[in-house]
Amino acid sequence: MTAIADAAPHVRDPDLKRRLQRAERRQTRMAMLLVAPLFLFIVLSFALPILTLMTRAVSNPEVSTNLPQTLTALGDWDHAAAPDEAVFAALAADLVETQKARTTALIGKRMNYDWPGARSIMISAGKAVQNAGGGPWKPVLVASDPVWDSVEWWAALKRAGAPYTDFYLLGALDLKRDVKGDVVRAEPDQAVFIDIFGRTIMISFMVTLGTLVLGFPVAYLLATQPARTANILMILVLLPFWTSLLVRTTAWVVLLQTNGIVNNTLIWLHLITEPLALIFNRGGTLIAMMHIQLPFTLLPIYSVMRTISPSHVRAARSLGAGPFEAFWRVYAPQTLPGVGAGCLLTFILSLGYYITPALVGGATDQMISYFVAFYTNKEINWGLGSALGFVLLSLTLGLYLLYNKLVGVENMKLG
């Protein structure tokens, strides 16, 4: 095609020009047809699930679907005092339905995130309505729990009644809404997530820095050795790269555990008398993560270093620069694209670590992924789990955009 396209401007025949354009359009269409199956597949099997997670972070169906009449009756409530009998009658009617459908506890569970003890308030309210013969309903419900006479509780119920909410997303950032609906900081005993995000970023940063310090000299060695030696040394880098993450994590557990190889060797060498605590702490997590990420940082640096001509440093030396000055001022700046690409990739991948900290880290080394899994699997608080995932995803995608700008996905290479 290139040959014809280059000739095109000189061709006077308009028919030929049109035919060329048609051929190019056909080719583009063909290319899009080739990409379409994978694109559709990724959208259906990957992007839609991610979208589901993002909707879960804001969807809030528990109260809105179960107390529809109450929420309608609450529509023009002024937050001045507890609502009047009409609202209580609507609530009673709703509770009769939820008692039948056994969903009262579900409302209680949702309210509990916002109001500790709300579960039992809802359950006793449901029972009270079921047992009472008829209205007026306000005394019945206030008798079941005095909280039904308070403005704060009704405000919380109304807030939780919106079909979509920023409650979980705010919670993931240690924020909440007060009675008036303003965003305020969460109570100190519940404000844990900023710390966990900070820890996640800190661990990723340490791992990135560590792999750079360890990887840069080795990349330089590999780039400057003759091809035969470099190829053999390269195998030492690529074999761990190719080995299962789980296998490498297992290896570190075996090495670092209390009666593990490292401790036993140190005792055998009489360097220590008591085994050191090497595992289930920050140090163990960092060592294992650096080991896994080292090739990801090293390989892009290496491939850039291979393209740097040794004559640059030689020229600098012959112009009077010392060996270290020549390296630092002439060679090192040229490696920056590789350093940037490798470090950014390692940082992005480190943010999402789950398995390794879970197996070799202690309670205070768990990163944000662990809590996404914890709230989804153990606590069954899908809203909060999804919201934490939402924040982590935004952070990762932001950095991915930066990576695209600086490095470009087309230039990504493996091994």
Binding site: S45, T52, L246, S369, T376, G389, V409, L414
Partner: protein, 273 residues
């Protein structure tokens, strides 16, 4: 280094020792741990009291491990086939000179590699359970295919940037249909890249544990899932035996890829770049 100053000479050796230590750090954990899977006693330290193959026997005879190995092979085979086919087609399309919004499309196709795997797993757990794909092998195959395709797209794209498109034009000039030109000219030349991509895809699926934790039930337990369960409680030498087999597989695949890379470089040497 006849003209080097003493300082430079010292630095030269310090640098070498430093690099040696880093390379040792990379390779030692794997090499030190592997022999322990032949230990006669279920301890993890040297010296070993005796050698035995009992942990490998356990691996082969234990029905849970058998199930794990079988599931991993089935899921890996299907996911690799799907990912290699879809990924190669997409890479071929993306290599066209005028592809609209190439960077955007490519970013989307690569994103399963970048998005933290827990997020993918939780999202799939919600979405796949809505459509009845959780606790099924097909669900797991679809999930692993999505995770594996970026590796195929990246490797095949890298091979295609070195591919000389005048080859297919020459074939077309000589009367070959587009399909024949692809099958007889282009495919053989990019095949090393396609195979490397397929191997990457297989390893990705064969190692994956997080998505399995979320969307698979006990019947879909895979080898890594079985290993993960064991490491959490108490490491048994059987886990090390499984790890050892995985390392041997990695070595085999790495060797294959290295050979393919050399072949590909040789072929490229013939083509006028």
């Amino acid at each position: 280094m006849p003209y080097a100053s003493p300082l430079e000479r010292v630095w030269y050796w310090v640098f070498r020792v430093l690099c040696g230590a880093v390379l040792l750090f990379l390779i030692a954990p794997i090499l030190v741990v592997m022999p322990l899977s032949f230990n006669a006693e279920p301890y993890f330290s040297y010296p070993m009291p005796g050698l035995s193959l009992q942990w490998y026997q356990d691996l082969v005879n234990n029905p849970q491990w058998q199930l794990g190995i079988r599931n991993s092979l089935i899921v890996g085979a299907f996911a690799t086939t799907l990912a290699t086919t879809l990924g190669t087609l997409a890479a071929l399309g993306l290599s066209q000179r005028k592809f609209p919004m190439r960077t955007l499309v490519m970013s989307v196709l690569i994103s399963p590699m970048i998005v933290p795997v827990v997020i993918t797993a939780v999202g799939m757990y919600f979405f796949y359970s809505d459509i009845g794909l959780t606790n099924t092998l097909p669900g797991l195959i679809l999930a692993h295919t999505a995770l594996a395709t970026p590796f195929v797209v990246i490797t095949v794209t890298a091979t295609l940037t070195a591919f000389d498109h005048s080859m297919t034009r020459a074939a077309a000039n000589l009367g070959a249909s587009p399909w024949t030109a692809f099958r007889r000219v282009q495919l053989p030349l990019i095949l090393p890249g396609v195979i490397s991509g397929a191997l990457f895809a297989f390893v990705t699926s064969f190692d994956e544990v997080v998505v399995v934790l979320f969307i698979a039930g006990p019947e879909q337990r895979t080898l890594p899932r079985q290993m993960f369960a064991g490491i959490r409680e108490q490491i048994s030498p059987t886990i090390l035996a499984a790890a050892c087999i995985l390392v041997v597989i990695s070595i085999a695949l790495l060797t294959t890829i290295e050979l393919l890379r050399r072949r590909s470089e040789r072929l490229r040497g013939i083509s006028p770049a």
